[in-house]
Amino acid sequence: MCGDGYAAVAERRAMEVKTIVDECLELWRDPYPHLARLREEGERPVGVFCSYTPEEILHAAGLTPVRLMGAVRSLTHADAHLQAYCCSLARTDLDMALAGDLDYLEGAVFVQTCDTMMRLSDIWRRNTAFPYHGDLVLPIRMGEEVSLPFLEEEVKRFRRGVEEFAGQRIWDDALEESVHVYNRNRRLAERLYKARASGAIDGLSAMACLLAGFWMRREKHNEMLHELLERIEGAGAAAGEERVPLLVSGSVCTTPDLFELILELGADVVDDDLCCGHRYFDAFVDESSSPEEALAKRMWERVNCPAKHQCIEDRFQRLVRQVMDSGAKGVVFYLQSFCEPHLFDLPYLRQRLQEELEVPSLVLESELQSFSRGQLRTRLQAFIETITGV
């Protein structure tokens, strides 16, 4: 093949990559119309809010877990049930459910992570008419022998609840198969992050491609990630200006705005500590032991949500490692307003990042019912300028 041929192949590849990324970005901007279509196509979507949800069990029962991460919207129904001092994820998700905007769901799974989720479960159950309602109660003490048997029992109880709803047993081999599918997804996500680290894909595109999996059958996402990685891996860093490397820490990014703005402002996300990102796919489910026990074990040993406890230093130690490994020059904490678990950790994380690593940080709070991209931009710009010294 001549030189022109290589160029043509490269161009075609770039176009194919762009098509995949664009589709994912579109999903990220507004996944809900797509979820309604899933239903029309015969899937049975179940809403999940939390990265601790054992999605494999739902998947094995023929249900399609889909992540609900709120929406930018003004509230019409939720204020009659939830006070203004809880996070906008809870408020906008409940609002959508009460407004009938999520009627295509079979129901939702409530994992007990924080006080808001614990009460949201009751409020949701009492005021909606979805056929399925799942609860999974987690311990806060993770990674300690004392809590593991409890967690295993909870996973079993959760499975029985799903079986009851599905009207049939979930066979172990079906569950093992689902575990395999999700583990493959985790391996592909790791590869995606490696590709990002090598500069083969930017932070915005990588995050979009990861998140897309929340809103489709996982096998399909695996295929998509595979197609993507085949085209970008080994391609090396795209030429271009040097970008300011940032790490984003927090819960979820409901919209792509933050990642988009970071790119626009001459920086890029080189790693994250988000529950829709790195924390979501951290650690594998051991395929050699019983699936329930293995699912419990993974939750128990994976990286913690700040609403869980391992030791008082675990989050900082992990963050330090991530900052060092990724070469991030700044950390953006992107949190939900009123999110106590995250807000409690902020002062010590920020202080020690500054004192021990000389890494500056910025705190941005997200309130979906009064979302302002302009404000986000101004604050990010000032922060990035302090790093570059402009």
Binding site: Q83, D115, D122, V137, P149, F150, I312, F344
Partner: protein, 417 residues
């Protein structure tokens, strides 16, 4: 001043004196002695543990550890109108104003030693139990970093419906772990006989407290729940000691005497209301006056009864206590909470309910809108929700809240739809 008027004021004074709860003095003495002892122990070889209000304190008493309660201290700072300045110290260190004001005030006080008693004595270790909220373990993680002392977390996952066996078993395992932790901290061995004695006293005091609260079923009520908020300090902090048993025996005698003599806490009791959530500590005096003026007695509440434990099995004290601590009021689902509220409403014969939507306490407050509706559905009585914060007065709008309470009470006689 005419003879007539003077006589009337003297009569009023005598009447006020007659209505005053005398045990309040004994309580102040008891609490002063306790805080003096705790403060005096700082820097000696006695162990001091900071502990959350819903955590099992009996093992600490049995190990001769002095328990110290930041939440009780927070209430004290709030009532003394000193918590806002302490919160501001924490806010200056990066703690969000959206965090619990008990936690912010406590972190502020740990830094500055501020507050009405010059801060709490330094802990040798910490004990947090999340049966009241998940805020506490994050707050105590911060304390553990600040003081560089060990933290024991007694983890009580949320109970939906009946307490499942695997959850009870988890609590029991931790109770044993807690005891081992204390053995390690204090270098003493667990003494079961001592623990049984403490548990028995705790149970006895708790039973007395329950009887005290039940006295308010009587009309006119011998106290308001605002008095109960004050009188509950010993059951929260020192249950398991003989002094607390003696104290509540005194309180119970006084309440029974008041009932016999027909002495109500208010000069006139027209309406009886139920209170939900933690008190608005900095506003107790003003609210107390308002309710007295409205001839309305807050006869019961969902808060003070959280320390009335039942069902301790003398054969298995550790095990049964572990179960009890897991199923406290804030760790159960809305249906069970509604049952509890309904039962209080019936027992105490209330005309309505006031719910404090407390910015600082999500597990207590989220769900109140649904509970209010459920309360009205089940009892036919109205409910009012007021927005405030237990110790951060910057969130309190007195004029608006007082107007709403007045309107609510005036409308109490109207039929409910």
């Amino acid at each position: 001043m005419s003879e007539d008027v003077r006589e009337r004021t003297q009569e009023e004074k005598a009447d006020r004196e007659r209505r005053k709860i005398k045990s309040a003095g004994a309580m102040r003495e008891l609490m002063t002695k306790y805080y003096l002892e705790a403060k005096g122990a700082e820097g000696t070889d006695r162990h001091i543990a900071w502990i959350t209000s819903g955590a099992p304190v009996e093992p600490l008493i049995a190990f001769d550890v002095i328990p110290v309660y930041p939440e009780n201290h927070g209430a004290m700072c709030g009532a003394a109108h000193m918590n806002v300045e302490l919160c501001e110290v924490a806010e200056g260190r990066g703690f969000s104003r959206d965090l619990c004001s008990y936690a912010r005030g406590d972190i502020g006080s740990a830094i500055t030693k501020g507050g009405p008693i010059g801060g709490l004595p330094r802990p040798t270790f910490l004990v947090a139990c999340n049966n009241i909220c998940n805020t506490v373990f994050k707050w105590y993680e911060e304390l553990a970093r600040f003081f560089e002392v060990p933290l024991f977390i007694f983890d009580t996952p949320f109970v939906r419906g009946d307490l499942p066996e695997h959850l009870a078993a988890y609590s029991v395992r931790q109770m044993h772990e807690y005891v081992s932790f204390l053995e390690e901290m204090t270098a003493k061995e667990y003494d079961e006989a001592r623990f049984m004695d403490v548990a028995a006293k705790s149970l006895f005091a708790s039973a007395l407290w329950k009887e005290v609260l039940a006295c308010n079923e009587h009309r006119p009520a011998p106290m308001t729940c605002f008095d109960a908020f004050i009188l509950m300090a010993p059951i929260v902090t020192l249950r398991g000691t003989q002094e607390v048993v003696d104290f509540y025996q005194g309180v119970l005698e006084e309440m029974k005497r008041r009932i016999e003599e027909g002495v109500g806490i208010l000069p006139s009791e027209r309406y009886r209301l139920l209170w939900d959530n933690i008190p608005v500590w900095y506003e107790m005096r003003n609210l107390g006056k308002l309710f007295m003026e409205l001839e309305t007695c807050l006869v019961a509440d969902t808060y003070t009864s959280a320390w009335t434990f039942e069902g301790v099995d003398a054969e298995k004290p550790l095990e049964s206590m572990a179960r009890i601590y897991t199923e406290v009021y804030l760790n159960i689902d809305l249906e069970r909470m509604a049952d509890k509220i309904e039962s209080l409403a019936t027992r105490f014969g209330v005309d309505g309910m006031i719910m404090h939507s407390n910015r600082s306490c999500k597990p207590y407050s989220l769900g109140q809108y649904d509970l209010a509706k459920e309360f009205t559905r089940r009892t036919g009585k109205p409910a009012l929700i007021i927005e405030a914060d237990h110790t951060d007065s910057r969130w309190y709008d007195r004029a608006q809240i007082e107007t709403r309470i007045r309107d609510f009470v005036e409308n109490l006689l109207l039929p409910q739809t």
